[in-house]
Amino acid sequence: MKKTVTIIVAAVFLLTTMVFAPMAMAKPFPRSWLWNSTALQMMDTSKFAKKGPYVVGFSNASISNSWRVFFERQVRYGYELNKDQIKRYYVTDANDKPDKQIADVEDLLAKGVDVLILSAATMAALDPVARRTMRRGIPVICVDRRVTSDESFVSFITSSNVAQGRAQMLWLAEMLGGRGNIVMLGGIAGSGPAEERRSGGEEILSAFPNVKVLDFQYANWSPAEGKRIMKALIQTHGRKINGIWGDGLQTSGAMEAMKEAGMKVPITGDHLNAFLVRAQDWGFPAMSIDFPVSMGTDSVEIALKVLRGEPVPHIYEVPRTVVCTQDTENIKTDMPWSRMAHKDWPDEAWNNTLPKNLLPY
């Protein structure tokens, strides 16, 4: 009797693993590859092949805002998932100072890492040190922000900022039926991602001659600035404003200013929980596209592939989700808005793939 039970249990277990294992293995396919105009540039990594277990070093730019906090946890999650192959895992934090990060990388090399995962504080500053790391035979994996030259890294795990700006603007323009006045709220003047998203947005505008930009202002990715600036713009343009293009934290502040003025217009943002929840609660037509924190975990997976000598794409676009309260012709929501907006999460939480014990709250 005991024996049969054991056999049945074992059989069931075997069956479930056979059925579910491939499902667990199947990673979400990076959708953005589909529209890549050229063949993926695969990197031959055989020269980096090594026997494990490995020492992995992660040089982080900073954990001074909530996106970066989640992102750092995701990298750690990547390490915990692969503990069997990684014997040591080192993290450094540059406090947003490129100078310090150059030193950080040197420190990690001094500790004898087999692979360097690098989230660069600025793309130019870290380029020389990344290039020299590669020359020493240690593969560099860039994540979130890259370094300038192509030969300074093996693989770059990211989501396109330009694509983000385009998607947000396309949805907004289509929501307005190709006619109307909008204001644009950007990030920090002079920072790379802010300019890329802006240029993406403006590219789309060229196809919509009747969508007029009333004003473009930088809101420093700060909800306070977003609210202050939007208040002034409401005074200048009033009910002429038909839509708001924004690429980050500032839009949650801007939305509040609009609500206080009793105006409800389409607005774009990213997967900051405060933005998602408020748009839903206050009934703003909204669209959100994320710059996924999960790329942190992907970077560890890619790093291990490189160390095993498997080919990896030079540029690895992580899959991203789009949600909108209302579909337009070309931008459709991937899931209902309510599934992305979590009322029980803190305001500054980001959509993530972390297990409970790694969540920062």
Binding site: S64, N65, V69, Q235, T236, A274, P346, D347, E348, Y361
Partner: protein
Amino acid sequence: MQVAVSKRLQRSPQHIRSLFERFGIYIFLAILIVTASLVSPNFLKPQNLKDILNQSAALGMVAIGQTFVILIGGGGLDLSVASVMSTVAVIMAHNTEGQNSLFIPVMGVCLLFGIIVGFINGTLITKRKVQPFMATLGMMIIVQGIRFLYTKGMPKGEFPPIQRYLATGDIGSVPTSIISLAVMVIIALFVLRKTTFGRKVYAIGGNVNTARLCGYNIDFTIISVYMISGFMASIAGLYLAGWIGISDNWVGKGYELDSIAAVVMGGTTFEGGRGGVLGTIVGVLIVMMLYNIVLLLGMPVQMQFVVKGVVIILATSFYASFRRTQT
């Protein structure tokens, strides 16, 4: 050109000069308001003026504290205010979770926190002879570290509705935040002008040695002044956080330099002993109006930077030159 103006004034009667010295900042404010309303028809809209006032509240409160600190002289200034503002904001959101009933007790904790930071600042400056710039800069960095350790970089919670009302609501058509600011200005004016404590502040700022000879307790006064600054910073932090409504790690960012600029534009000098709260409030209004008008005009960000810089320099040098001729 400034020199030419002051030369001419040197020959003019004494009282005109002192009039300028005294009211230079008000004249400048008037010029700014007239210019603003000429270049942008939207500037004088009641709602816009209300927005400016509402946004001035938090900066005004920090600047009141900053005025005390700068008045005391000896290079006094408080760079830790912005850090304190952000920290009390996350403490509030974290602990109340948006419940009105917890607002008062948690507010007590927040105010205490500000006072303690001020106490440490003041003690370092008086007992250990650390220069105010260094002491408050060090505290700024430490408090920032404490805040991130506390939140793990991820602020949570919500602000209680009562706090949001205090920061964004109206009584009649007057914003509540402005009423609060007015009350604080009156208290500060009273303290500085009518109490012995205020006299001590001016005396120490004017000349430490004379004040010491008068038997004033210098260290105690200086420590108190920094405690006032910490206290005002935490109130301002709560108002600002209530106005934004999102608990963010960097709520008060930039307020340390903005508040110092406002105080100095308002006529309080780093040498200490001269100036006061009313000038500071005018300085605050100038700063906030400036931030507003560049947006109303839809200026690109580059021009905003240039205009802000030029106006700060102009406003301060506008009457500094009159003041100089007097000494």
